[in-house]
Symmetry: C2
Subunit: 352 residues, 2 copies
DNA sequence: GTTAGCACTCCTTGAGTTCGAGTGCTAACA
DNA sequence: TGTTAGCACTCGAACTCAAGGAGTGCTAAC
C-alpha cells in the first residue's frame, strides 16, 4: 500500500479543510469538496488506508479524521502551494517598514506586528546575534566633576557605555592622553587579544593612573565578553488565542508559558534557524520537545542584517495553521528585512 | 444607617475571605471565621444592610455576597493592614538586583520578575522617561573606508549612534578637525538652542564639507527631538491567568488585549503614577475606563532613577487581589529600586 | 474497483431532576 | 431592642437520560 495520487488528493483536501474549520473531517465533506468523482464510501476506504499508514487519526470511532503530524509534515514538504504575495502589497509594506528603521527595536517590533497582522498568529522577531568583535574605538568623556563616561565601539557596531564615579581629580589633558594610549594599545583587539602582556604594557604607560586603568579594563573585558543575546519582539498573542483549539484553559496556559519563557523561545528559534540557514524551517507539534503536547507549530525564517549577522523571524500558532500563507509571508518578510537592513548597513540607533 | 464597627469587621472579613477563595461568601462562613460571637442570622441582617449601602452584591438570590468596587475602595483606603516585608528578605533581593544592574533593561526585567514572583500576579516595570537634554559630547568614528559613525552623548546620559555611508574620501585629520568644531559649537546645546544662526556659523566653519554637515545636523536634531518614550517590561502574565476568574475565555482575552496594547498600558500607568507622585495608587476595576468590565485592578508606584527622573512599577491582577501584599511589595520594591538607581547614578549600559 | 445501503458507535444537546448552599422572614428569647 | 433559632424558599450546579445526528465499517450489488 503506498501513497498514490488519489490518496494524496484526499489527504490534501482533508488537511486544508481541517485547517479551515478545526473540526474532524468526514468522508462526505471531502466527497463534496474535491470533485474527483468519488463517492463517500470510496473515500472512506482510502481514509481508512491513510489512517493505517499513519497520516490520519480519529478522535473517536464515529468522528471524522484529523491529520497527524506526519500528514502535516508531508503537506508542508511537498503538497503546499506557494501563494505569492503581490509585489504591490510588499512594496507598500516595505515603505512603511523603512519609516520604522531609525531604531532597531522599533523596526523589529513593527515587523512582528506586520507579520502577525498578515497571518493572524503570533509573530516573533529576534534581533541579530551580536558578536562583540574587536575594539574599534575607545572614548572617555568627562560627564561632570566626579563622573567619567567610558564609551566603547566595536567593529561589529556594538556600542556600550558606562559611567563611573571617580574620587581623585583628573584634568582634561590627562584624559586626552590616556585615551590616546588606550586607543593605540587596544584598537583592533578582541577579548582574546587582551593578554597579560598587553595589560602589563598598559600598566607601564599608565603609571600613576593605576586605579583608573583597572576600572577601564574591567569595563572593556566585560563588554567584549557580553554575548549580546538577541532580544525578541512579540506581536499578536491574544489573536492566536482566539482559535478554537484554545477553548480549554490548559492549552492557553501551555501557549502562554511557552511564549513567556525566553529561554525556551530562544532555544527553539535558534535550533530551527540553525537547521536551515537560508530557507524556511517548519517545526510541527511534537517534532520539538518544547512544543510537545501543546498542539503548536512554529515556522522560522532568518534575515540578514548588516555585518552578515543573522536575525530570526518566526510565527507560532496552532498545529492547524495555514502553512501556505505563513510560509509565503515569512519568505517575503525575511527578504524585505534583509534588503532594508543589509542595504542601510547599521542605520540603527540606540539610546539610554 | 451607617458603618459601625461591627459592619466594618464583617465587611473586612468578607473581603478577605473573597480575596482568598474567589467564591461568594455566605453568612455562616463569616460567623465561623470572625469570632465576634454573632450568629449567622445576625450577620445576615448586617449583610443585608451592607448590600443596601452598596458595599456588597449578590450574583443571584441564593448565593453569598461579593464585595463591590466601593467595598474594595474602602478596604484599600482604610481597612488594610500593612504587612511589612522582612528586611532580611529585602536585603537578599537588593543584593540580587544589584547583580542585574549592568544594563537598565535587564535590571527592569529582573525587577518585574521579582515583583511577579512575590505577588503571583502580572508585574510591569517602566523605564524612566528620558529627556534628551543638552549635547555633552559629539564623536565621529571612521568605521570603515566608506562608513562614518556618529555618536552623540547628552548630559542626561542618553547615547545615540548612527552609521552613514559617505561617498567622498575624508582623511582622519579632517575628521578630527570637524569633530573639534562640532564640539566647540554644539556642547551644551539643547534642541532649541540649535538656531538658524548657529547653523549658519557651522556652515561657515565647515566650508567645503557642506554635505556632511547636513547629515550630522539631521542626526543631531532627530536625536534631541526623540522623546525617548519609556519601555515596559512584563512578567508573570500566565501566572495571573491561573486565577479562577479567568475560566471564561473572554476574560482571558480582555486581560491579554489590555496587556498587549502598549498605548493603553502606558496611559493607564502614566495617569495613575501622575496622580500620586510618591506613594501608591490603586485603581480598582471600573474606576478607569480601560479596566472597565474586565474585573481587573492595578496598583502603581514610582521609583526615582538618576537625574531625578521617575519610572513606574505596577501590578495588574484580578479585582480580587491581595491588596495588602501587593501594596507592601510595591512599596518595598520602589524604595529598593530608588536606592539602587539613585545611588549608582547612571550606571547603565546600552549596546547595539 | 466503486458504490449504495445499513447497522452501529459515540458525541452533543437539551430537558428533567436532585442537591445543597444560602437567603429572608417570623417568632421566640434575653 | 437586639439576637437567635427555625423554616420555607430560591436558584445555580451537577447529574441522568433520551433523542438526534454525524460519521464509520462492513456487505452486497453494480
Amino acid at each position: 500500500m503506498n501513497l498514490d495520487g488519489r490518496k494524496i488528493a484526499i489527504l490534501k483536501a482533508l488537511i486544508e479543510d481541517y485547517i479551515e474549520t478545526a473540526e474532524p473531517v468526514g468522508s462526505r465533506t471531502i466527497a463534496k469538496k474535491c470533485d474527483i468523482g468519488l463517492s463517500s464510501a470510496t473515500i472512506r476506504n482510502e481514509m481508512s488506508d491513510l489512517e493505517e499508514m499513519g497520516y490520519l487519526a480519529q478522535p473517536h470511532t464515529s468522528a471524522g479524521r484529523i491529520p497527524s503530524n506526519l500528514a502535516y509534515r508531508l503537506y508542508v514538504d511537498s503538497l503546499i502551494e506557494n501563494i505569492r504575495a503581490t509585489s504591490m502589497e510588499m512594496e507598500l509594506i516595505k515603505r512603511k517598514m523603512e519609516d520604522h528603521l531609525s531604531e532597531l527595536n522599533r523596526f523589529l517590533d513593527f515587523s512582528a506586528k506586520t507579520i502577525s497582522d498578515s497571518t493572524g498568529l503570533t509573530a516573533v522577531t529576534g534581533a541579530p546575534r551580536m558578536n562583540p568583535g574587536a575594539i574599534s574605538h575607545f572614548e572617555i568623556v568627562k560627564a561632570s566633576e566626579h563622573y567619567l563616561m567610558f564609551i566603547l565601539v566595536t567593529n561589529t557596531g556594538m556600542i556600550k557605555k558606562r559611567q563611573v564615579r571617580i574620587l581623585t581629580h583628573i584634568d582634561e589633558n590627562s584624559i586626552l592622553y590616556l585615551k590616546q594610549i588606550l586607543n593605540e594599545e587596544l584598537a583592533g583587539c578582541t577579548l582574546e587579544m587582551i593578554t597579560a602582556d598587553k595589560v602589563e604594557r598598559l600598566k607601564r604607560r599608565f603609571n600613576d593612573n593605576f586605579e583608573l586603568l583597572g576600572i577601564i579594563l574591567e569595563f572593556v573585558t566585560e563588554t567584549l565578553a557580553a554575548s549580546g543575546m538577541g532580544e525578541y519582539y512579540f506581536s499578536g498573542k491574544s489573536e492566536t488565542l482566539k482559535a478554537p483549539e484554545f477553548s480549554s484553559m490548559d492549552k492557553v496556559l501551555g501557549f502562554l508559558d511557552l511564549v513567556e519563557d525566553k529561554e525556551q523561545i530562544t532555544s527553539l528559534i535558534n535550533t530551527a534557524a540553525a537547521d536551515n540557514k537560508n530557507g524556511i524551517t517548519v517545526v510541527i507539534g511534537d517534532e520539538s520537545p518544547i512544543l510537545k503536547n501543546k498542539d503548536l507549530s512554529m515556522v522560522v525564517s532568518t534575515y540578514k542584517a548588516y555585518g552578515g549577522r543573522n536575525g530570526a523571524i518566526a510565527v507560532i500558532g496552532p498545529k492547524r495553521m495555514n502553512y501556505g500563507k505563513v510560509i509565503t509571508t515569512l519568505e517575503a518578510m525575511s527578504r524585505l528585512m534583509s534588503e532594508i537592513l543589509e542595504h542601510t548597513e547599521g542605520e540603527t540607533d540606540e539610546e539610554r
